[in-house]
Symmetry: C3
Subunit: 439 residues, 3 copies
């Protein structure tokens, strides 16, 4: 069980470790399929026992089909003087992700139909994809776009879009119970850091940490391509999905914005309440968002046929920071201290899930005499409230078998850990008994 | 079914049509019985197939009795020089409505016991009634009142209060279902315009409009005298009343104030939620009032023995505008544009009732692939949210058979029409199925 | 039944009577056992038929044991010159309550281990107790403490802590029903006035008042030592406790602060709603506190094994006024007018409990014709709302057997008494029937 007293991973070096890992994976050109994802998962596999799955193109997964596999070696635009004015080597966002191969000389007019830029952020390169409609294109800064002169251009995209497979990684950290907590992150974006190398490295470190503890629940970590990855996983794991009793989608966790939790479709699942409790008692600002069917893979986990209790933990939500889906979402935008802060909050959420027990007061008629057990101050009449005495009294008063510690925390306004400690103390003194799981 | 795409009646001429009709009916001296109501109903009958009922005086209706029929030809007060200083011909509010006949010479002192005026509004004539206690009286401006000099006065009220009948009109616009939506308005006030010729002309135009559409529900329109009229109708139609699944009392709908909806006794009936949704998504200010057992005929429809889901739709509520029950509630106080605005909101409410269906997502495991059906943008990565895509996603996510479109509208904050359109689109593409009525 | 029309005890002399009684009992050195409590109960017994119980030391009461009985005759500290510098005779707070006997010469250093003072309030003497751990000590002003000079001191506490008994008083005021309303106050504090002679005298006057009325409920008054007293009573009266359907702990009711009601553990018991209604409709500020398992004897009454609907009525809550548990909580701190105001509110709460009936509208189809019964104004059309007509309409509309008068008061915003009067009137006219208790 995770102990409250020894915060395992809060040393500042943890943030740096996560940032280093992100730095290592940043240059790889990932997509929803292909070698970029494989390379990334192989890096993760050196840290945790990851099982890597390959699902062949064309496999039917509910209403979808696993797409052809995309790989890319080179891509550029040359101007009429033969100068490479846009080059995939400089930044892999320059290519429309999933571009079909092309090598052609075309007019500026024709070229422009295949270009994306951001007039409002003229120095940033946007990130665009075309997974499900065959197309090719380039992304460039708006300054580059505006400097394009009339003339003939050579466009070269040396990519392949062929039968292959979709790749994802899975790591199960077993606990006492067969019931599972799902931790899922998308690992399909090329050189974008907050979205979502931040989620990937945080999930990795969480898995590493939990593996060193005795756990109540089993924890399933998924490193998957967005949308099609979760659809594929759910399709292949419908029985496993039934075991998921709590879950978090991790995304955008390294920026300087406040922590944000988006509730599951159920809205009042244990994970929703645990996350809200942690954020409420954190010393910093936060946001709680109601569920909406738009966002990350919680869209799939919370589809009505599954309706899993899975929320999404972020800092600034996607599309709410201007750097979103541009090359400004880079290794400078994500800071070690924010990764570490997000990690700490995840651990606190896990702590609540692990310890959110329900107890029975074994001495329910009036209060027990705490003083004779050394649990209470000895000189009466003092007006100062002792918070941990209050914790003892709240746990005793509410433990009629129908209130979990999280219920009591919400009702009393006392932070979960204090109540959990109080409960532990009362159990030791024979005043409280856990309602056994399954009873 | 009412279509959202072609707002049938929003041309500005509609407001003018309603105002013209009100102008035509304004001079008639109506009361809860008598020829004024008959004349009024006959005018309406030229516009819609109105069935007119006559219920004899003395008929027992629950705890009440249909009163004697009142009619009036002439009424005046003459001063000692024989000058008519107050004359019913100038304004039918001058007579206490339901005054018994009188012709007598009396002193000023005696006369004053039978006069009503408004010191706070010295140029306005109040409207007073004495339906259930035989009495006679005059209403006059406070300036008139103050100018009365000592001396003898002749009072003449040429009225009759005799066995006769109570008259009301009813129009049923049939729909696919036997279940009914009740639209009721009181048509018993003399020359007062907002209260309630505004409700009468709006109900009329609503009936005319609905008659040109294929409808889900049947719509029952009542043009009745206030209180005794709804009591009489309910007494005679106890089986019909059981079919009423939604209803609106229409009153005071032509003034410049904000739209107001007063909830039914149930407080969370479909009509309550539909009206609140329409007002919330209108571009103007509005008020939602909780039910109270005071007001118009919702008092009777919502009495505990019936407890029908009937709310009251108004602009400024009765007694909240100073012109209420005075001759200042006239054809200038009521404006065509406000009548038209009230009408539009009624149509929107009806639209919700007609289209508030519950669906089942036929592809509930993960999201269906909207892109391959042309229902989704093709270039991913763009950060702009597309509202109608959101509509599709919300309908899909919530359509598990337990959420109606109005439920989804409330949860998502998206206007009903967008969701209704999205649902239509999804049904067309075989992704959604309506839960059939009665299943 | 308590009548609303003749407020029995609101004359200002009542406040003075309560203050005089407090003045009489103020000098007595009370504790949780001993002659101080006996003396106090004997004074009360002259006013109401109090039954006084003695429970022997050592009696097991749930997890606790009735302690030895404590009595004290004299106590002082003498300095090296033989001068009494702290003397129990001057103020009984000077002795740590429940001090074991001692007579010894000790150094200043040793003495200081047994002294309490208040640096923040250097002229006040604190009140301290040590009921459950044998100890001795003195309390003194901080100025006295600071003036102590090095040297030898003689400490003398002429007390006894011996087998004896715990004393408490009980008075049952019988009503029509066997179900009981509990009124409990702690009577164990020495010369402290707000905490809790205020509660004691208020409970006494309430008992006196209720004894002169015909009551629906039976009222059980407890004058007990805090904590151990309620634990002892509950232990000995487990069957009686089952009859308690509402209850108030009375404490700190004479200071100038606003009235405060702390809810029972149930949170929505009739007593909680009645108290909130009274405070909401009082003309003064007030506080409603959610239940917490800290405070007075509601801690025991609301322990999970009992979970009785017992709240706590106070003015400024304990520990929230600086005078709390010091000699500044004296006869000047408590004022007759605040005692009287607290009493009035208690009576209003009792009034609601006594009259919170549920009715059936005998004419539920439409409104009954109130006018023909003289219950309604005769000239219609007036825009002024008549509150008592509104009361009649609300009672009629909601009386379907599922709404009590308090339910209707909460829903309508109308003060309980107006509705109760309206209900009485409707019963008289045969329009309403009480749902008999037990049906």
């Amino acid at each position: 069980m995770i102990s409250f007293d020894e915060p395992v991973m809060t040393d500042t070096s943890l943030g740096k470790q996560m940032h280093s890992l992100a730095t290592m994976m940043f240059p790889i050109c990932r997509s929803i399929t292909g070698n970029g994802v494989r390379q990334t998962l192989n890096i993760l596999k050196e840290e945790i026992p990851l099982v890597i799955y390959e699902v062949p193109s064309g496999t039917k997964v509910f209403d979808w089909e696993v797409p052809k596999e995309w790989n890319i070696r080179e891509a550029y635009i040359k101007n009429s003087t033969g100068e490479k004015i846009v080059d995939f080597k400089n930044c892999n966002l320059h290519v429309l992700n999933y571009s079909t191969p092309i090598n052609k000389k075309i007019s500026l007019e024709e070229l422009k139909k295949h270009l994306s830029s951001l007039p409002d952020h003229p120095d940033w390169i946007p990130y665009r994809t075309s997974y499900y409609k065959e197309n090719w294109g380039f992304c460039l800064t708006h300054r580059q776009f505006q400097n394009l002169e009339d003339g003939e251009y050579e466009v070269e995209i040396d990519s392949t879009l062929e039968e292959g497979s979709l790749t994802y990684g899975e790591c199960l950290v077993p606990g006492r119970r067969d019931e599972q907590v799902l931790i899922s992150c998308h690992a399909c974006h090329p050189s974008l850091c907050n979205d979502n190398l931040s989620g990937v490295v945080l999930a990795l470190k969480l898995a590493q940490t939990l593996r060193t503890h005795t756990l109540e629940y089993s924890y399933r970590f998924l490193f998957i391509p967005g949308a099609i990855g979760s659809i594929t996983w759910l399709n292949r794991n419908q029985d496993q999905a039934k075991k998921i009793v709590n879950g978090l989608v991790l995304a955008c966790l390294g920026d300087s914005g406040k922590s944000t939790y988006k509730k599951s479709r159920r809205g009042n699942a244990e994970i929703d309440r645990a996350a809200e409790h942690v954020l409420k008692h954190s010393k910093s600002e936060y946001d709680i968002l109601e569920f909406s069917p738009y966002g990350y893979d919680e869209r799939q986990f919370c589809s009505p046929g599954f309706n899993l209790p899975v929320g999404c933990f972020m800092r600034t939500p996607f599309a709410k920071f201007p750097e979103y889906h541009t090359d400004a979402d880079n290794l400078n935008f994500v800071r070690p201290e924010f990764l570490a802060d997000s990690f700490d909050k995840c651990i606190e959420i896990v702590n609540i899930l692990e310890n959110n027990k329900t107890y029975i007061n074994l001495n329910p008629m009036c209060e027990p005499q705490l003083g004779k057990r050394g649990l209470y101050r000895n000189i009466g009449g003092d007006s100062a409230e002792n918070v941990s005495e209050l914790g003892l009294l709240w746990v005793l008063n509410q433990s009629d078998g129908s209130h979990s510690l999280l219920d009591i925390a919400e009702k009393s306004g006392i932070v979960f850990q204090v109540l959990s400690k109080a409960a532990g103390s009362l159990v030791e003194h024979g005043l409280l008994k856990e309602v056994e799981y399954g009873q």
